[in-house]
C-alpha cells in the first residue's frame, strides 16, 4: 500500500525551462513533506520541505506547493539547469511525539537537456 506516490517515473525538460515534479499521498496524518535529490552512488540530499499548515515554500530556484485538500504536492524548479539532472524523491513525515517516520515515493528521474 503506497502512501506516497510519484506516478511519473521520468521527466525531461530543456535547460532554462520549468521542471514540475508531482507527488500524491493518501495518509492525512502526514504533517511535513520533503523533497530529496539523489545522484547515482550517493545518498539522498535534502532539498526543500513544507509544513502541512503551509501551501508554499520557496528557496531560490526551488518552490514546493502543497494542496492539502487534494493530497498533492509539487516541486517547481525554475530555471532548470543540467546539474539538476538526478532522481527526486518526495517524502512525507508522520510525527509520533518527538519522533518522526518518513515514507518515500519511488522517485522521478529528471533529465535537463542543455
Amino acid at each position: 500500500d503506497q502512501q506516497v506516490k510519484q506516478n511519473s517515473p521520468s521527466l525531461s525538460v530543456q535547460e532554462g525551462r520549468i521542471s514540475i515534479l508531482n507527488c500524491d499521498y493518501t495518509n492525512s496524518m502526514f504533517d511535513y513533506f520533503l523533497w530529496y535529490k539523489k545522484y547515482p552512488a550517493e545518498g539522498p540530499t535534502f532539498l526543500i520541505s513544507i509544513s502541512s499548515i503551509k501551501d508554499k515554500n520557496e528557496d531560490g530556484r526551488f518552490t514546493v506547493f502543497l494542496n492539502k485538500s487534494a493530497k498533492h504536492l509539487s516541486l517547481h524548479i525554475v530555471p532548470s539547469q543540467p546539474g539538476d539532472s538526478a532522481v527526486y524523491f518526495c517524502a512525507a513525515n508522520e510525527s509520533t511525539g518527538a519522533n518522526s517516520k518518513l515514507t518515500f515515493g519511488k522517485g522521478i528521474t529528471l533529465s535537463v537537456r542543455p
Binding site: 550517493e42 539522498p44 515514507t103 519511488k106
Partner: protein
C-alpha cells in the same frame, strides 16, 4: 568532514554469511535510522534509534540487529544472509525535533551471491 558516513560502500558475500555495516554521524544529531532501497527503488525505513534507544522497528526479520553504542553511531548486523537481502542500505540522522530533515549517508550496496 563527511556528515553521515557508512562503511563499507560495497559488500559482496555468500548466502548464509553474517555481515555488519557501520554508520557514524558528526552532525550532533540524536536520532539515527536505517533504510533499505530494494530493486524497485523504494526507500523503506527499517529502524530508528533515539539516544541509543530503539524507537521504530518496521517488521524487519530478527536476522537484522541494529546496535547503537552511542548516539553518533548506529551499526547494522545481519545474520544468515539471504538472496532477498541484496539491496542498498542507507543510514540517516536527524535532530529529535519536529520537522527536521534527515541527512543520509551514501549507502552500502549489499550483493548476496
Amino acid at each position: 568532514d563527511t556528515a553521515v558516513s557508512q562503511t563499507p560502500k560495497y559488500l559482496v558475500t555468500q548466502m548464509g554469511n553474517d555481515k555488519s555495516i557501520k554508520c557514524e554521524q558528526n552532525l550532533g544529531h540524536d536520532t539515527m535510522y536505517w533504510y533499505k532501497q530494494d530493486s524497485k527503488k523504494f526507500l523503506k525505513i527499517m529502524f530508528s534509534y533515539n539516544n541509543k534507544e530503539l524507537i521504530i522497528n518496521e517488521t524487519v526479520p530478527n536476522r537484522f540487529s541494529p546496535k547503537s553504542p552511542d548516539k553518533a553511531h548506529l551499526n547494522l548486523h545481519i545474520n544468515s544472509l539471504e538472496l532477498g537481502d541484496s539491496a542498498v542500505y542507507f543510514c540517516a540522522s536527524s535532530q529529535t525535533r519536529v520537522m527536521q530533515p534527515q541527512h543520509f549517508g551514501d549507502g552500502t550496496r549489499l550483493s548476496i551471491l
